[in-house]
């Protein structure tokens, strides 16, 4: 029972946390880094952020597009960073942030910046932070990074940390999105101790870029790592449904509307094997029945009496005068034996 209580406590606590993060409440996380891949894009999560931000009063949504071909709708301002030197871009962003009480600043794809100006990455990002701004950065982990070559003005030393490592270090919240179909397939394979299936570029087949089942329209999985000011990190896996999941949303304490995000463990297809065990535990009162089947395994009275009267054959054979002579070995030699010699037995 204590396991269940602690699960409930963890569930409530982490769901409250993720809903605080997504609604930008209390400036919970100044810099949130979203890591996505070809298997699952960060767009639905960003859309989720934008939808909740539009419900917050006076929240301006600024979208800085580095390499985005189709920015989402419902944003207040779009700044394209194409071919702009960093100081100019900084000025533009500061201008956009200056006169609004709260801002959600979304940087689409930190990859171009990491490959063109990795030295300026940290100073650029810290210049954008302010008490009223929440910074949301998206990084694609499967785009290879080509750092500036040695000998150029912005060359990046070999010993300096990888831009992705730097970004993970700076982030106060790290959200990694995964594809639900891929995760479920991997879990099913793991439950049977089979090697997990590979998708997309990992398949190793020439010509395959994106695996089937990527970007499922039903929903996606978010792996959250939230770092508190004290340094303690909270990690949890959530499932965000994009289509209604049939009654699994919950009303968190202190809120009026439903929260549609659930823990990944609560996803109906996730813990299939555990659910079977739980069903067994719940049915302790039906143990007397034995295993459930369509035919009778019990005995009626008449059948029991008849069974007790049966004499099994080995009982008879063990008696001295019974069939087989009580276990003695009886040897009957053939009639035409002529090689029988008594002296051979005296060894």
């Amino acid at each position: 029972m204590s396991a269940k209580a602690s699960l409930n406590h963890r569930r409530t606590h982490n769901l409250l946390l993720i809903s605080r993060l997504l609604s930008l409440r209390d400036a919970a996380s100044p810099f949130t880094l979203i890591l996505d891949s070809l298997a699952q894009s960060a767009r639905p999560l960003v859309r989720e952020y934008i939808q909740r931000a539009t419900k917050v009063q006076n929240c301006k949504i600024v979208y800085v597009s580095f390499s985005s071909f189709s920015p989402p709708s419902e944003i207040s301002q779009l700044i394209t960073a194409r071919r702009k030197p960093i100081p100019q871009l900084q000025k533009e962003i500061q201008a956009a942030l200056s006169n609004s009480p709260r801002t959600l600043l979304i940087l689409d794809s930190l990859n171009p910046l990491s490959s063109s100006a990795p030295l300026a990455l940290s100073s650029f990002l810290s210049s954008l932070l302010s008490p009223t701004t929440t910074l949301l950065g998206i990084y694609h982990i499967d785009i290879p990074l080509s750092l500036p070559a040695e000998g150029t003005t912005s060359s990046y030393p070999d010993s300096a940390p990888d831009p992705l490592t730097l970004l993970r270090y700076f982030a106060t919240t790290l959200l990694t999105v995964h594809s639900i179909t891929h995760l479920l397939a991997e879990k099913r394979a793991k439950d049977r101790s089979l090697p997990p299936p590979q998708f997309g570029l990992d398949e190793g087949i020439e010509g395959v870029l994106v695996g089937l089942g990527s970007n499922a329209p039903e929903g996606f999985v978010v792996e959250m790592e939230y770092r508190r000011k004290s340094g303690r990190g909270v990690g949890e896996w959530f499932y965000v449904p994009l289509k209604p999941l049939g009654g699994l949303s919950s009303v968190l304490p202190g809120k009026t509307e439903e929260e549609k995000i659930i823990l990944l463990e609560d996803h109906p297809e996730w813990r299939v094997s555990e659910q079977v065990e739980r069903r067994k535990e719940d049915e302790t009162e039906s143990e007397d029945e034995g295993p459930r089947s369509t035919f009778e395994l019990g005995l009626t009275e008449k059948q029991r009496r008849k069974r007790e009267e049966v004499v099994l054959p080995y009982f008879d054979a063990q008696r001295e005068g019974g069939v087989g002579g009580g276990g003695k070995i009886l040897f009957t030699p053939d009639r035409e034996i002529d090689d029988f010699d008594d002296e051979e037995d005296e060894i």
Binding site: L38, R43, L145, S146, L201
Partner: protein, 335 residues
């Protein structure tokens, strides 16, 4: 024969939503049949297409397209089909006083046509000239489309002037390193001009054939190439890129070229709403199946691709290219 048409609907332009689609192919499974089928389908639906070829000749001039040769003439005249030959523009040496200029130094009418049709040219000229380099090696009129820009009398003397000053101004040999990016910028400017001149059609489609070649040949960075494609994308409803995804160019990242090509293709794949991958069968060659076509839909969330939702069109199909056309069918289907 099971038609290919339902699979092409994600690529069709649906203004005002803009989308980017990606078609990848390998050496074992080239995508020319797909591109020609797509072009025909878009033209049938009333769109205007600009095809920019970075490798090879006009899409509709190859075997598939030759059957529809007459139809293409009509579309070209209506300015609904434009082929831009970027190979000539960027790589072949500029025009000298040989037979090519025989085309340009002529009466005003022909000159205007040549000049107008070549408005897309980018040369290795001094940037001030609106260059016109009809390819000396190509048959006249085959690839260059006459874009009837409004007759600009001032253009004619300019082109005449260029032909006369050409012999002195042309450098003897192409110098790729110095003018790589400027060549791309010049091509980009000309293409932007072309796209804006077609703004009277509301369903404009831009098809880029193997733009990742520029990373290897011109030495541009993947980032710069993505920016250039983004700029072109702003002027059209749908951009479709055809790229090759051979394993060394996608997963091995030892040389600069491999890294940049992988960066470019994966960046486009992240931004593309629909990705169609063509590859050969894993089991080898077969006489009745040419390859596997896999369609993955990213889904934009706000505006669903094709309007119907992605479950229907995502999946793997087998295809077989034959003389009469292309068959597309599911694995294990009786046919």
């Amino acid at each position: 024969m099971p038609p290919l048409t339902p699979h092409l609907t994600p690529h069709l332009p649906t203004p005002p939503t803009k989308k980017l689609t990606l078609i990848t192919s390998t050496l074992a499974a080239p995508a020319t049949w797909y591109a020609t089928a797509l072009t025909t389908e878009i033209l049938r639906n009333g769109g205007a297409i600009v095809v920019v070829g970075f490798v090879g000749e006009d899409l509709m001039e190859c075997a598939d397209g030759r059957r529809k040769g007459d139809a293409m003439a009509k579309e070209r005249a209506e300015e609904r089909y434009v082929f831009v030959d970027a190979v000539t523009e960027l790589f072949l040496p500029p025009v000298s006083t040989t037979g090519a200029t025989g085309m340009t130094i002529a009466t005003g009418g022909v000159n205007r046509e040549a000049g107008a049709g070549v408005g897309v040219g980018a040369g290795r000229r001094p940037p001030s000239s609106s260059s016109m380099s009809p390819s000396p090696v190509r048959t006249p009129g085959s690839v260059r489309n006459a874009i009837p820009t409004p007759p600009t009398p001032q253009k004619t003397p300019a082109t005449m002037q260029n032909t006369t000053t050409n012999p002195s101004a042309t450098p003897p040999a192409p110098t790729p390193t110095l003018t790589a990016l400027s060549g791309l910028t010049a091509l980009s400017n000309q293409l932007t001009k072309l796209l804006t001149s077609l703004s009277k059609h509301d369903k404009r489609v831009l098809i880029l054939l193997n733009p990742e070649i520029l990373i290897a040949t011109l030495g541009v960075l993947a980032r710069e190439l993505v920016e250039v494609v983004e700029e072109w994308h702003e002027h059209v409803s749908t951009t479709t890129l055809l790229t090759t995804t051979s394993t060394p160019l996608l997963t091995r990242t030892t040389t600069r070229m491999e890294k940049e090509t992988a960066t470019f293709v994966t960046t486009i794949a992240h931004e593309a709403a629909v990705t169609v991958s063509l590859r050969g069968l894993e089991t080898g060659l077969a006489s009745d199946v040419s390859g596997v076509m896999k369609v993955t839909v990213r889904g934009d969330g706000d505006a669903e691709v094709g309007g119907k939702g992605q479950g229907e069109r995502e999946g793997e199909w087998l295809y077989h290219v034959r003389e009469q056309g292309v068959e597309v069918f599911k694995r294990g289907e009786m046919r």
